[in-house]
Symmetry: C2
Subunit: 455 residues, 2 copies
């Protein structure tokens, strides 16, 4: 029991003094839900290994969580638990504050307060960092403190430090991320079992892979938050979620998945960012990728980030993107790295975003209209002569050329599906063409999915 | 031109003083072959980006290379080139020494000298680190300097910092690496084109993927060097190459590859390490892995490292394992990270191996006899009744049970291949069985390949 914690069993708040025991690193948790509990488990399970790696021990010094019940078996004694996070983050004995509340407030204020009180901070909060990262990283730089956020993207996949450090000697050209396990699970089930979206979503909800309100995941917003962080790390450019084109997976049908397979593709929700000579593309949407691509094999709740770099070429990082322990390992890695730096008398994360705080700039973000893709098109049309010709000529007028067509089955009643794959065209042209096609009497509906052929 | 380098064109050695310009980080290269030239290219190509990331500029302050000719277009002016590496590594103006000579000496002495002179060191030299890493890392710790060695394993794949930092909060259980691009290319060509080993090797030599003397690569020694570093980083255990069981790919035949495919496997040269409750398995050999495994899709000169961790589960890291620019990006990442730490007044890599220098321990290495695998067996036997029964009963006596058999084709003349896949057995049992089978008159030859079914 460390000196700062000499306290009787009957006191609910420990006596607190700034600790000077160099052989202890004191950690406070804000929030002890799924991931927080995972962090507590790792701190206990690997205590001996950490002591060997660090030459010091971690001490879980306080946990702020409104609904947490003491769990001595887990090391969560009642004296550690508080409902007052604001006091916890400024307690003089705390070294590292781990923010796992999620969301904007009070997480934002607490993190700022902790940094100003000289604590290093570790967080998994992509929504907060995507919206308010500039404020938080500026404050950290001003206070000379570190912000670890490996757990905010890709769960246990170390994409944050990879982009910031391992790929820092090279120029990144494009990032393609499967960064939402819920969407990837749903699409995997649809692909493997031939399930429709609603049923696959229900299965994911029943197995705990999707929330009761799954909007944040399935509409792509969670992936867009993560993409903002990836864009900053890869290209040194600030990006807010509102500027990311975001389209979810709720309109993907079993039929689309089948046609994709026939055309040699798999459908994934991808977070895509490209640096086109300084103009940044940033978009989240269902994407057809070649079935033989490594990303196509990333199934279920797994995440993977595929990065194209100028000198290095393609690299890929793959692992579990969510779950208690996988995410906790990323939090734990940040805690350990910060502790190493504290013990060496230096601060890590001097450049939390890979650039000094002032050097990250607002970027020029490409309009979606200017983004060039190949497209998969699905029209439901009346089964009558001339349909294909009518559609094709509208596409041609909009300078979209057709690469292949599938028109093989009979539809329901008098309606048949017409499936096309196009060559590259700007999204502006596609939109114009689809508006014109919508006016054709013989076409009842249309849908399209963007293809990334050369990732 | 930095102050320390004010010198006339006619002097061959620049006037040298310890530099105090905080806006310059001075780099010396030992060796400017393929990778060295790549580093020079990156330093020039990305100079502006590095200045933005670092708030300081890199200055290539000297290059020691016996056969290098000046190349002003590349920034290699004659004043930078020296044949005296020993003087270069102690020059007071140098901050970071990049060792790319390779091999044991003079690389070892020069690195030690550089560290003792207060330089940080970056190297791609896996042979040196595998054999003499303990001396070098101890010296670095004693001198308070960093040793960056990301380029030593996996080329541009950031497996070193991933094991040391990103996975440091978790316990590693197993590492499976495709870490030799030459072998992977040869096996890929054999698999895809049905080529025999000798022809695939010749192709690799003609295309520059294999050396004129390819022994180090194809016999698995290069992979064994890399495995030693992976074992230390993953398990905190020192391991020398002599203790790694090492078997190369030169005995793999086209027939083996075909039978592997029929059984649902792909053959890869894997560097495998496992922590079996403190007993470390470390082995390099051709391995059959399930064709649907992600590692099976890693083709050509690509590398990938698949890591099983206790809490995180499986992760994989994939990219180009060799080549001028890919390897140079890993060197450059280390240079940049060290420069960041130098500028922050702190030393990075306080724990170059993830542990304080003294905490890495000699490990208990499992004997190959005790390693348990499934096996692929190929016997060439006389085409006569009772062969299968005779082989099977020897296997049975050695407690090896058969999972499946292929005996479909006629062989050459009176010889037929008998192919078996076994269940798990210790290697000791397999060896005994194969010795007994060799005594059977009707069996002319036998070969086996280890299977990793559950990686």
């Amino acid at each position: 029991m460390p000196a700062g914690h000499l306290t009787t069993k009957h006191r609910t708040e420990p006596a607190v003094t700034a600790h000077t025991d160099a052989r202890l690193v004191r950690v406070a948790l804000l929030g002890c839900g799924t991931v927080g509990e995972g962090v507590v488990r790792l701190l206990r399970r690997n205590a001996e290994m950490f002591e060997r790696k660090l030459g010091a021990a971690f001490d879980l010094a306080g946990v702020a969580d409104r609904s947490l019940r003491p769990n001595p078996a887990l090391g969560l004694e009642s004296r550690l638990i508080t409902r007052d996070p604001a006091s916890l983050v400024i307690r003089p004995d705390i070294d590292i504050v781990v923010e796992l509340f999620g969301g904007q407030e009070p997480a934002r204020s607490l993190m700022l307060k902790a940094l100003e009180a000289g604590k290093d901070v570790v967080t998994a909060n992509k929504a907060l960092l995507a919206e308010n990262g500039d404020e938080i990283f500026r404050t950290a730089a001003k206070c000379g403190r570190a912000v670890g956020f490996e757990a905010s993207v890709g769960g246990g996949v170390p994409i944050i430090r990879t982009l910031r450090e391992a790929l820092a000697g090279d120029r990144q050209l494009a990032v393609y991320g499967i960064v939402n396990g819920t969407c990837n699970s749903i699409l995997s089930v649809m692909t493997e079992a031939g399930t429709e979206f609603e049923d696959a979503l229900r299965q994911a909800q029943e197995s705990g892979l999707a929330e009761a309100d799954p909007t944040l995941d399935i509409e792509g917003h969670d992936a867009a938050h993560k993409l903002c962080l990836l864009v900053t790390l890869a290209f040194g450019v600030l990006l807010k979620p509102a500027r990311v084109f975001t389209e979810g997976i709720s309109r993907i049908t079993r039929a689309d998945i089948n046609y994709a397979r026939q055309l040699g593709y798999t459908i994934k929700l991808l977070a895509i960012a490209k640096d086109d000579n300084g103009a940044i593309e940033a978009r989240v949407h269902p994407t057809m990728i070649p079935r033989r691509h490594l990303l196509a094999d990333v199934a279920g709740a797994f995440n993977a980030i595929y990065v194209h770099s100028e000198a290095l070429g393609p690299t890929m990082y793959y692992g579990q993107g969510a779950g208690q322990l996988p995410t906790a390992t990323a939090v734990m890695a940040d805690i350990l790295e910060i502790a190493r730096h504290r013990r060496a008398g230096s601060r890590g994360g001097a450049h939390a975003l890979g650039y000094p705080a002032g050097a990250v700039r607002p970027g020029s973000i490409k309009r979606m209209d200017d983004v060039v893709c190949e497209y998969y098109l699905r029209f439901m049309a009346r089964d009558q002569p001339g349909v294909l010709g009518a559609i094709a000529s509208v596409l041609g007028r909009n300078r979209i050329s057709i690469a292949s067509v599938i028109q093989q089955e009979r539809g329901v009643g008098s309606t048949v599906p017409v499936i096309m794959r196009t060559h590259e065209a700007p999204e502006r042209n596609l939109k114009r063409a689809l508006m014109a096609i919508a006016k054709l009497k013989m076409v009842e509906s249309s849908a399209f999915i963007r293809i990334e052929e050369r990732l």
